[in-house]
Amino acid sequence: MELNDLYRDVILDHNRRPRNFGPLEPADASVEGFNPMCGDRLTLRLKLAADKIADIRFEGQGCAISTASASLMTEAVKGKSRVEALELFDRVHRMLTDDAAPGEDLGKLAALSGVREFPARVKCASLCWHTLASALKSADARNLPAVSTE
């Protein structure tokens, strides 16, 4: 395993300039994610329109992997339906944890595939995705408990 396989240019870029970063008012759903191991915190806010993610933004602080993952995720799921976004969550989750799922067809998100070689960092990349899944799976997305990866 090599460091530049983990910290690929796409990751470094999205860490430096996270996309869809900042508040979203008013939001239809607001969910917090927390990784107590490293102190990463993020708040994910969504606007939903006819079952589609019309807009999504995030705020918080975290390591490069968690920031880049959240940034890439918001780009990837904007405009997708709940079902499509949850499907993507499953595929990303497999890519992060399963050697047999290389993530080649995931576009930019494949930049996160190096994370699986660093088991201690998988939670950094998956925190935002678990937070999103929690928001999308809930019938009442306005009133959700915080998500923790521990």
């Binding site: 460091l3 430096r16 107590p36 102190g39 975290g62 992997i65």
Partner: protein
């Protein structure tokens, strides 16, 4: 580097000699020599400890305090012999005052539940400081929920120091117990424990010292400190995990009810009445961590075989060298700048999250701790989500600190 001043790298301690006693220090990590700078989380074990545990497991294992057969008697002698070493190590008055527990966390919980809980009433107070490890916060929160007592927190200043006046100001007629760290695990601050204990004693307040980070770095004499309870863990003292010590003043331990019931802590049991065993066995229910205690006894022997004055001088040189070397890196901020510090440096680097830094350093074979160090109130105080922490032992070298600095520069370049 901002600071190119030549730094003193001389040491009176035989570092290379002592490194040969620790087999793991010779291994490679990702093809690089291991630089183990995470001693505050857990220290490595010398051959003396590994061999003592191995010899016990191969030749002497049996249950203790039970059998008349040879192995049981040998195991008992080894286990109780370890207790005697610990009596001398912290200068307790007698072996009645050394309780073997799983570690510092269990020791503090034992005091909370067995000493404090029967004593506390609603409105009473337990006082701790802002820089405590969660293990010296949460047991008191549980106790307060059980009794209606209140947890009070003495403030620290921006250097991470605890001032005696600030603690005294919170000692009230309702304060029943004062607990503090001897050395902060997140900041390295050495607390003025002797004066803090004296202030508490003058007011009739019981005292507990969390010594987990202190015993590896300084001589501890519980009689000189005057505390009622002192807790520490074996694995930070070059011994095994799962073993630690609660020292308690015998007069208090005598009055305390047992914490857990079971075998070994009793003299006689019938369904009508049970007579508890004497100290220290009253607090050691069930078969204990026999090999762990033996390993800890060997660790204490090993410590005492070293030139400790030279070892401590070396650790202090490492601290000064690391403080100046890391302090010279642009964008690096040291968290915890107390005048009196044990040998650790906690820091953050602008633009580099501690968790990323930890991964990058690991690729260079350098082990540091990153995170909140089980001291979230400390992180909150300094307005950082986490820090990186390099914590040293006497077997660390100046060259390892140079490698740490080079790794930090590499991380800065990557994220620039």
């Amino acid at each position: 580097m901002k600071n190119m001043a030549r730094l003193d790298r001389s040491t009176p301690f035989d570092v290379l000699g002592v490194r040969r006693e620790f087999p793991v220090l010779a291994r490679l990590v990702h093809g690089k020599p291991l630089a183990y700078l995470d001693n505050g989380a857990s220290a490595q074990r010398p051959n003396a400890v590994i061999d003592a545990v191995d010899d016990y497991e191969r030749h002497h294992h049996a249950n203790i305090h039970r059998g008349v057969h040879t192995l049981s008697q040998e195991a008992t002698a080894l286990y109780e012999g370890a207790r005697d070493r610990l009596v001398r190590f912290i200068n307790a008055r007698s072996r009645h005052e050394i309780i073997f527990v799983r570690g510092t966390t269990e020791a503090i919980n034992l005091v909370a539940q067995s000493y404090a809980r029967p004593l506390l009433e609603a409105g009473d107070e337990v006082l701790v400081t802002h820089l405590e490890h969660h293990a010296n916060i949460v047991p008191w929160q549980i106790l307060c929920a059980q009794t209606g007592a209140k947890l009070k927190v003495a403030p620290m200043d921006s250097r991470g120091e605890i001032h005696i006046e600030a603690v005294e100001a919170l000692m009230s007629p309702r304060t029943r117990l004062f607990g503090c760290a001897h050395v902060s695990n997140a900041l390295g601050t050495v607390l003025p424990v002797r004066r803090l204990i004296a202030a508490a004693k003058a007011r009739g307040i019981a005292t507990l010292v969390d010594g987990a980070q202190a015993v590896p770095h300084m001589a501890v004499d519980v009689q000189e400190l005057g505390c009622d309870f002192y807790a520490f863990s074996g694995h930070k003292l070059f011994g095994p995990t799962g073993i630690g010590v609660l020292y308690g003043r015998e007069a208090l331990l005598e009055r305390m009810p047992p914490w857990q019931g079971g075998g070994d802590m009793i003299l006689a049991v019938s369904f009508d009445k049970t007579t508890y065993n004497s100290l220290p066995y009253k607090f050691e229910a069930g078969t204990p961590n026999i090999s762990g205690a033996i390993g800890l006894g060997a660790a204490v022997d090993f410590m005492q075989s070293l030139d400790l004055a030279a070892a401590r001088a070396h650790e202090h040189s490492l601290l000064e060298y690391a403080t100046r070397t890391l302090g010279g890196i642009d964008g690096l901020r040291i968290i915890g700048t107390a005048a009196d510090k044990a040998s650790l440096v906690s820091f953050v680097v602008a633009g580099v999250h501690p968790h990323d830094l930890g991964t990058i350093l690991d690729e260079d074979g350098i082990a540091v701790r990153t995170g909140h160090h089980c001291a979230m109130p400390v992180m909150e105080f300094f307005k950082v989500p986490a820090t990186a922490r390099a914590s040293f032992a006497f077997y660390n070298t100046f060259g390892e600190i140079d490698r740490l600095a080079a790794g930090i520069e590499r991380a800065r370049a990557l994220f620039a």
